[in-house]
């Protein structure tokens, strides 16, 4: 059971190789064995009951696609009657009276929830070190970070604590940890997956997506997670493809765009991984063309204006008045606000609230927020132009392999550069995935595929066909190469 993918687990349960109950017990034991990784903030106490119920449902002939599959949710998705913390002391005891649409969609598909995974506080971070609940450790090297902000989900899948987990990606928070942990992670097109019940960081950039071992598993998860939701006005009314059915279709000679300047920045070992990936992709019929993304280098500065600006408003509700952390014995209203927020929110979150507040202040608005939005439009236009020439764009996922815990924690600028290859697709709203493509010094390296709007099927199919001739995605940290 240890190294089974989601696809294999679905088969295993359906063909009665094992029950959902047995699988769940196995995973719970494994989670206990791996507590030092700190992947989970909470475990669902009721999951064995739910697994039993799923087994009964299977007996009755239910054909729910994920029936009885234990998955994990990033602790940013509200789940009814369950604590949802967003990795923050502010929400340490917050229990939502509703399910996030992602949660209810997966429940409807039959999945059961193992628990809630650790994350950077309010999804702000690239190393999982900003979590109030302590850092997550990378299963490949426990002295290293798993990436962030969906670090708990990435590490849990990588350590085989579950075969699939949900994540969110605002500037790279699915793809960077997927790359660091050697798994496959997809950030869908903005609007593909409903944001209802997903605690907001930066509303115009946040997007939920699947994290799993394989592209095929991501395809299965994405189909169940996606779809229009009338509770989220920004969710798209675009039909959901049967991603899994489209994985093995003949792709023909697809054109993949390369933006050369990105390749030049890579160190020689990572560069080699990239070259080998391109060779493998050529084997499955891909051709490569150079493209130009003239405003690519402005993505990080634009992102670090827009995301904090939106977060500064999104996090105003954490004021100690209605829910969440409240300071002891405030002397007046102002102190209630100030101390509840000072004490209840972490340093990185406060940094971003301050930066965002500044960017929106009258007198600075035009120079910062407005300018950043203009840059965002230019970046989007660059991609639209590029996709007139190519079908998919290839890019590195991260500038390095997983770094050591504490290595960058004191240097926000260094940390922000982790997102250098990922933020542009959030700004443009494009789908992008990271797939395992090799190792450097025994640490996994991911390669990123960026697709056109709502064409998740295309990048998933390329990744799947790549994975059918490589086995990076099946390498487990328990048996390092």
């Amino acid at each position: 059971m240890l190294d089974e993918t989601l696809t294999e687990q679905i088969k295993g349960i359906r063909e009665k190789k094992y029950s959902s109950f047995e699988l769940t017990e196995f995973l719970l034991d494994r989670i206990k064995d791996k507590t030092e990784l700190n992947c989970f903030i909470s475990i669902n106490d009721n999951i064995l009951e739910e697994a039993k119920a799923a087994d009964k449902e299977l007996e009755r002939g239910s054909d729910k696609p994920l029936l009885g599959i234990p998955i994990a949710h990033k602790d940013i998705f509200c789940e009814r009657e369950t604590k949802t913390t967003a990795g923050s002391q502010m929400l340490e005891n917050f229990v939502a009276p509703y399910d996030a649409t992602v949660v209810s969609n997966l429940k409807r598909a039959g999945a059961i929830s193992l628990g809630k995974t650790n994350m950077d506080e309010f999804a702000m971070g690239s190393s999982n070190e900003t979590s109030f609940f302590g850092p997550v450790k990378n299963p490949w090297d426990e002295t290293r970070v798993p990436g962030g902000s969906s670090g708990g989900s990435a590490a849990a899948v990588s350590a085989r604590l579950c075969s699939a987990a949900t994540g969110t990606d605002t500037g790279g928070s699915i793809r960077q940890p997927a790359s660091f942990c050697g798994i496959t992670g997809l950030k869908p097109t903005y609007g593909r997956v409903s944001r209802w019940g997903m605690i907001a960081y930066a509303s115009s950039l946040d997007q939920a997506g699947p994290m799993a071992l394989t592209a095929e598993d991501c395809a299965i998860m994405l189909k169940e997670m996606s779809g229009h939701d009338k509770k989220d006005s920004t969710s798209a009314q675009v039909e959901v493809d049967d991603y899994r059915a489209l994985l093995s279709r003949p792709l023909g000679k697809l054109k993949i765009g390369i933006f050369e300047p990105l390749m030049k920045e890579l160190d020689s070992a990572t560069s080699l991984v990239m070259e080998k990936t391109i060779e493998e992709l050529e084997k499955i019929g891909m051709t490569f063309t150079e493209i130009d993304l003239p405003n690519f280098s402005y993505a990080i500065p634009a992102y670090y204006v827009i995301a904090p600006a939106e977060c500064s408003a999104n996090l105003s509700r954490y004021d100690g008045v209605r829910f969440g952390y409240r300071c002891d014995e405030p002397s007046d209203l102002k102190e209630l606000y100030q101390r509840s927020r000072t004490e209840g929110l972490g340093k990185e979150v406060k940094n971003r609230i301050m930066a965002g507040t500044f960017a929106l202040t009258s007198g600075y608005y035009d120079a910062f927020y407005k300018k950043a939005q203009q840059v965002r439009r230019l970046i989007k236009n660059d991609f639209v132009e590029a996709f007139k020439k190519v079908d998919v764009i290839i890019a590195p996922a991260t500038p390095s392999t997983a770094f050591r815990l504490g290595e960058k924690a004191g240097d926000p600028k260094e940390m922000y550069l982790q997102d250098v290859y990922t933020t542009s697709s959030n700004l443009a709203g494009l789908p992008a995935l990271s797939m395992p493509a090799g190792f450097v010094n025994n640490l996994p390296v991911g390669v990123q595929l960026i697709g056109n709007y709502f064409d998740e099927a295309q990048i998933l199919a390329i990744a799947h066909q790549f994975q059918s001739i490589t086995d990076w995605h099946l390498t487990s940290p328990d048996i390092p190469t």
Binding site: F77, C78, T84, A86, L91, F94, A96, P97, Y98, A100, R195, W196, G197, M198, I199, A200, A202, S203, S204, K230, K231, D232, S233, T234, A309, E310, S312, A313, L315, S316, R317, D319, V321, R322, F323, L333, Y337, T357, L360, T361, S362, Y365, Y369
Partner: protein, 483 residues
């Protein structure tokens, strides 16, 4: 120095609660008066992960208002976030419209006391959510927060500073109130806060071009207080300037119990609202056909109604205006007119009995205990001579008190019908003539006063039920045949 040397400049911001079943961004109920926080769901509470979804009911209402004041309707507009901290503002920002309001550049005419009209320009009207209420007196040493009002849809109507007197301000506010109730986009209930005014007031010496420093007066919830508050504020500002001091730009609260304004917060130290486009909502895109469709279905406005009543119902202008001034009255009148085309009679009843009684009670005509049906029955029974006007008024009184439901039943049960049988009246007259030869002689001599004697006599005999007009006519006829 006298007031005539000063000019007052006033602009009004009117918050109108749009009458929708559910809130602007959630499906919680908007009904007034629920227990605190019973009508606030997870969206109104601003719980983490919740998202606003626009209630589409608000658009036709805002558009109808815009079209009625000849404004431009923006085919594309959007919502913004206005950021500030307050316990009754759950998200820490209000969703409103800043730089792209749905309605721009309209105007409305107001009638001045001397009969002339003045045009007040409307700069904009934008959509936004209301905040909750802080309850400072509910708990000792604590403040309660009631979020039932949070998320009620508002249309904020902002005038240009075209208003010059408190009287004009009152007239403008009343015109807007009349318009929004006519359009049925708001119940306009001021006591429940459905219609609230903020006044921006400044003064300058007559002939000066520059505007003076303005103050904003908030918390005005009646037309009367609007006038008081402005007059008070104008005096305060003139006194300040005349005594060599300066007016400070600030927000002031009107205290109706003391009839004074006092500072609330200074704008100079006020928060920067850090507006930016609301990323949780898509831009609003309105199709011109949709706008045109709403234009076609706009209800008749007061002036149009007045003209129709005058032209088609043959009413005098004064009566037509009396009816069209108030939508509920006009609607009541029209229900009557459907049943009975005697428009003049209807107006007379409404102006007379109906208004006399309404002026003594809290209810409006919509809730009048006398229905259009009953009123028309009364009119029918007086016109066909069944009852006299005096009797009709008595029956109106009974209906008003809810003692009876059918006019005809009251007439039968209480035997109130007039004696209008010609032959019976003839017999009574003949009998009276026979029994009073002396009076007949006088008539023959030309003493017409005696006519009254016979009417009185027969009225007494019939306990007042003889149809007076018929009786009069018959006696006159009989007398002339005597000659």
């Amino acid at each position: 120095m006298t007031d005539s040397q000063w000019e007052t400049v006033i602009g009004l911001e009117i918050h109108v609660q749009l009458s929708t079943k559910s809130k602007i961004f959630s499906d919680a109920s908007t009904v007034f008066g629920g227990e605190p926080n019973e009508q606030a769901n997870e969206i109104d509470l601003g719980l983490p992960g919740t998202l606003p979804v626009v209630n589409a009911e608000i658009f036709p209402k805002a558009i109808a208002f815009g079209l009625s004041v000849g404004a431009e309707i923006a085919t594309t507009s959007h919502f913004d976030r206005k950021n500030y901290f307050y316990p009754d503002l759950p998200k820490g920002y209000q969703i409103t419209q800043m730089d792209e309001p749905i309605v721009k550049n309209g105007c409305i005419d107001i009638e001045l006391n001397n009969g002339a009209t003045r045009t007040i320009r409307i700069n904009r009207a934008h959509l936004e959510e209301d905040a909750g209420k802080s309850l400072h007196d509910a708990f000792p040493n604590m403040t309660g927060v009631d979020l039932n009002r949070a998320g009620i849809p508002l249309l904020e109507i902002v005038s240009e500073p075209d208003i010059r007197t408190a009287d004009e301000a009152e007239k403008y506010a009343k015109s807007i109130h009349q318009l929004v109730t006519y359009l049925s986009i708001s119940d306009g209930n001021m006591a429940e806060g459905s219609f609230r005014c903020d006044a921006n007031v400044s003064v300058r010496r007559e002939g000066e071009k520059e505007l003076g420093t303005r103050t904003e007066i908030k918390n005005i919830n009646s037309f009367k207080f609007l006038k008081y508050a402005i007059n008070h504020e104008v005096k305060r500002q003139i006194n300040l300037i005349e005594s060599g001091q300066k007016v400070t730009q600030e927000t002031r609260l009107y205290d109706s119990t003391k009839n004074e304004t006092r500072p609330m917060r200074s704008k100079e130290t006020a928060t920067d609202y850090r507006y930016f486009p609301e990323p949780d909502l898509l831009p609003i895109s309105l199709d011109q056909n949709y706008i045109d469709q709403i234009k076609k279905t706009l209800p008749e406005l007061p002036l149009e109604k007045m003209n129709r009543y005058a032209k088609e119902h043959g009413l005098e202008e004064g009566d037509a205006k009396f009816l069209s001034n108030d939508l509920e009255l006009a609607q009541f009148y029209e229900s009557c007119y459907e049943l009975n085309r005697d428009s003049k009679q209807i107006v007379n009843w409404l102006k007379g009995e109906m208004f006399n009684r309404l002026s003594n009670v809290e209810i409006t005509i919509k809730d009048s205990p006398v229905s259009p049906n009953q009123l028309c029955d009364l009119i029918r029974r007086t016109s066909d001579g069944t009852i006299s006007i005096t009797t009709a008024k008595k029956i109106f009184g009974k209906l008003w008190e809810g003692k009876s439901f059918s006019v005809d039943k009251v007439i039968t049960d209480e035997d109130l019908a007039q004696l209008s049988d010609g032959r019976q009246l003839d017999d009574l007259i003949d009998e009276a003539f026979q029994n009073n030869p002396k009076q007949i002689e006088q008539i023959k001599k030309g003493k017409t006063k005696v006519l009254g004697y016979f009417i009185g006599l027969i009225m007494k005999q019939t306990s007042g039920k003889a149809n007076p007009k018929q009786l009069n006519d018959l006696i006159v006829k009989k007398i002339s045949s005597l000659k």
